[in-house]
Amino acid sequence: MKLARVLSAWVAASGTGPGMGNHPQLQDDYSLTDGELTVDVTAQPSANLTPQPNRYVLECVLTDAHFAAIAADNTYAILWHETMPDPTGQGRELSVMAADRPRTGAITAAEHAAIHAHLLAAGVPLAVLNALIGAAGNPTHATRHLLERALAAWLKNRPHA
């Protein structure tokens, strides 16, 4: 299992059921299975949904297969990820495997460029984006977690589209 923080879009639909209301696009695109979860860590006000740009930070616990699929899906951007050794998700003990991008690690130029491109495509103006996280490939935050926190804080107050 992987613990990851992911940039996802909101989907808006009327009603109260799954697939309705404001819900993460990831919920529509992937059928998560036992032990997988998502939680909104940005907490944009309901009144501002869907925001402009339509992105927020979602914490996810995912199977390795779902994680790999989402990581390869340009609809999403992975901000950091760590491995959960217990396959049931019980205990939530974390460890860092060689392939992980742990939250405390320094973001690479390639990762940063990918996140920068994702947000640019989502409609964040280039000047705003550069001021927020640095020019593509030139991160201004020391760690992935600091980058994520800066993004979440900015996204939290985006106005309704």
């Binding site: 009327s14 009603g15 109260t16 059921g17 799954p18 309705m20 209301g21 404001n22 819900h23 993460p24 919920q27 998560l32 299975t33 036992d34 032990g35 997988e36 979860l37 998502t38 939680v39 909104d40 860590v41 907490a43 309901s46 009144a47 949904l49 049931t88 998700g89 019980q90 205990g91 939530r92």
Partner: protein, 199 residues
């Protein structure tokens, strides 16, 4: 033989120092005659149910709802920071619980949809839902499942059948509202049982 004084004193001290467990604020096993409206039914603990939408009755000693799209029934626990547990048994559509609820459909909705195998924590504002957390779990139809909701300040944790939960940490809406309750999309075969609120 009389108990030595120091033993009796120690027992008294142990008893008086024992931590108090949570207080049962609301409890209902829905034991009543079939067809009795929830508003006419006496809770095991608590002041009684308010029927907000739908028609809530007892069926086979469980709560059941008919008659509206989204059925809600509530009770006042007197506290907003509580632990809520209940058995849900889904046959069709949706079933779940509400927490920190106010009229006009505002508060927190915790529910499952048949076939989706996901417990959802939704923030409801004027009957509009925003999904704040999802927990994938196998909810077999026509089978009892226990769901637990822990409300503590701005944190709400939901879990199912004793498994790990998921916590949303920005639950400031209606944070001090002490009214909690039941939810069912009006499918009479959906049932709720053993509802309990402690705190």
């Amino acid at each position: 033989m009389p108990m030595p004084l120091h033993v009796a004193q120690n027992r008294h001290l142990l008893a008086s120092n024992a931590p108090a467990g949570p207080t049962v604020l609301l409890s209902d096993t829905f034991t009543d005659t079939n067809g009795v409206n929830l508003t006419a039914h006496t809770m095991d603990v608590g002041g009684g149910w308010t029927q907000l939408t739908g028609t809530w009755t007892i069926q086979s000693n469980r709560a059941s709802c008919t008659g509206a799209v989204d059925g809600y029934a509530s009770a006042n626990a007197g506290k907003a920071d509580v632990t809520i547990t209940a058995i849900i048994n889904i046959s069709d559509q949706y079933i779940g619980l509400i927490a920190r609820w106010t009229t006009g459909s505002n508060g927190w909705l915790i529910y499952d949809q048949v076939g989706h195998n996901t417990l959802i924590l939704g923030e409801v504002v004027n009957n509009a839902l925003t999904t704040r957390a999802t927990l994938s779990h196998s909810f077999a139809t026509n089978t009892d499942h226990t769901i637990t909701i822990v409300l503590s300040g701005s944190s709400i944790t939901i879990s199912a059948d004793g498994g790990s939960g998921v916590t949303y940490n920005s639950a400031t809406r209606n944070q001090t509202v002490p009214v909690h309750g039941l939810y069912s999309y009006s499918t009479p075969a959906n049932r709720i049982d053993n509802y309990m609120v402690t705190g």
